[in-house]
Amino acid sequence: MFHTKKPSTMNSHDRPMCVQGDSGLVLTTDPKPRLRWTVELHERFVDAVAQLGGPDKATPKTIMRVMGVKGLTLYHLKSHLQKFRLGKQPHKDFNDHSIKDGSALDLQRSSASSSGMMSRSMNEMQMEVQRRLHEQLEVQRHLQLRTEAQGKYIQSLLEKACQTLAGDQNLASVSYKGMGNQGISDMGGMKEFGTLNFPAFQDLNIYGGDQLDLQHNMDRPSLDGFMPNSDNICLGKKRPSPYGGSGKSPLIWSDDLRLQDLGSGPACLEPHDDPFKGDQIQMAPPSLDRGTDLDSMSDMYEIKPSHQGDALDEKKFEASAKLKRPSPRRAERMSPMINTGGMPQGRNSPFG
């Protein structure tokens, strides 16, 4: 049985005193009673989940019933189950050296500290494993940030190209029909690719791209690309957020997809008969804030699931540090330090 434990130095928060309840549960005495997931309790939990057919089938209620532990509330189980489920997300290569469940960390901690007879090397090994786990989480976080940064940069690239092109062409309105006549076969490729969320890119194609000479007409180009309200006719980039809107991966995948499902790319991209049916993301399209007059173009760019993706993705991103999809789709979801309202823009046009 596990009795009161000294607070482990590994804890990220202060551990108040623990008391052992009648049912064998170890609860803490701080105002918000926290349940200590001891080894034994966790094992019972795992057993129960297994009995119920796995973390996806099991629900807190049923687990509670199966476990039959007094004092265990749905609240406890809910959060523990969620952690367990997340931990079960297969990062296939990590199986060998990662312990994915947060409660498993407790497990280690408690077993490490409770048994004084643990050999030193075992402790070291466990610590090594924990270290690796933390490192992996770090890597995930970083990868996500970096991918976003890259996506953001690319987005500015595209917008700039679009702007300059628009400037060259001196067109205020674009004819949708014009696109059809262009005969640029690759536009078809873009269309087929679904919502290629580079409105800039699509614009480029519209203009035939044969006068693209971005060398001239760069009036403060570098900063313009970052201006949310730059009056370009690049479509889809209507979100007020500085790097908002597009630049996402043209890959539309349902947010329900787990990472492993992404391997079967076809599955999620199959319903693609109508290239403009971009609602692969199963969420209701929010009312999008389009600043410009897009009447003629609206049907071509009817989908901006990217925006929808923003809303949901933000939450998910906050909720789990795990990497879901570090694709450029997240480009617009800037890390907070970048995306705060006032960008530290070098207004004094720094041209190295």
Partner: protein, 505 residues
Amino acid sequence: MTMAIDGAQFELELDFSGYSSTTTTATISTENDHDRGGNWNGWSPMVDWETLSGPHDDFQDLIDSMMDDGALMNQSIRLTPDTSNSMSASGTVIVDEETSCGDDLKGLRLVHLLIAAAEALTGLNKNRDLARVILVRLKELVSPNDGTNMERLAAYFTDALQGLLEGTGGIHSNKHHSETNNGPYHHHHRDDPQQRHHQSDVLGAFQLLQDMSPYVKFGHFTANQAILEAVADDRRIHIVDYDIMEGIQWASLMQALVSRKGGRPTPHLRITALSRSGSSRRFIGTVQETGRRLVAFAASIGLPFSFHQCRLDSDETFRPSALKLVRGEALVMNCMLHLPHFSYRAPDSVASFLSGAKTLNPRLLTMVEEEVGPIGDGGFVGRFMDSLHHYSAFYDSLEAGFPMQGRARGLVERVILGPRISWSLARIYRVRGEEACPWGVWLAAEGFQPVKVSFANHCQAKLLLGVFNDGYRVEELASNRLVLGWKSRRLLSASIWTSPSDPDL
């Protein structure tokens, strides 16, 4: 597809990483992963060289014999004693089988023709006329826009061979540099202006490649992670980039620099981009534009940054003395070749960069290049086949992830992979007879010291791949080298080095 079909296909497929999307890694006769470079002799197609004893005006018979489906079928079936069993076992799906068999047969046929053409071009029995005829026939059979992977791939290879045949595949003389090195702009085989790649196409294709595959990100991120680790405690960092293109690689590095943990102050970053004199039309703009963009980006995230440009000589030689160095800065040399970037770079130029790097004693040198198969003694044809295998894997990897987006893939193939194939073959053609070794090997020979790939770096690569189709894999082939591969084929190698003489040690 039923298992029976898979079984049948298994036997019929050549091991060109499968030009269908099955996941078999079928090998035929003696060809296997380890052997693929050297054993092409076993595959010398059904050209009966003895019959070419006298002058032939018309090779049609010869071609027809190669085209004979019966012959092909026999040969294929010969390799697969079980085929008849598996075929008869699934009576209800005969129709499907025939179609896919048909595809495979056609693919086989194309491969045979290509190899024959390659042989005719350079083999022991060189015969340019034969080659020409074969290529004509090939052109009738393939199109870069339709058909299976193999067919489209064959189209580009046919073009490339055509270029070699006509001698316009010449990236030989310096004189042609300005034309040929326009990269995607000037597919020099075609004078047809329609074939010039529009900037929008180029940008779009690159973006698509980025999104559909991990190739670009793998190279960039692996290099960046190594750089971050090497300069972890430095206040001033100077990166010399051989081929900056649009500067995309540096966006994520910059972001990582401003979010360095551990209470370290944000360092000052300086990037010097090497630019080619002469034609400065690049991807979507010039190096200066890239610089401006980077400056703006850095400003937006609050990174102290400055950008410089350094011109290469007219023959693209790098002169270290042209660099402006600052005392106390950590010097990093960055070299992205082939994919993830895709402009043509003359080997001499690259060599000059790397040798120059040596004299500068950089803290780190990052190198990303394509991974070639073992270079046997197969000569041109052997390396041709290796190249076929290589690009076939690319095509497959794109298709596996995005089977429905054929036209998008077609764009990437046309703008990026097609030209690469031409350059690749031209290079192989030029140096046939010599050993052209990968740059990693060259660096080691020059005395550069390997730098270990960290756990975090490897981890990052695996994570990155996890987002894409699970046919990708990353291997750590050496302590300082990560290799990205598709199924059984290694495609891209990222290696990290430090200067030979490290005074800190």
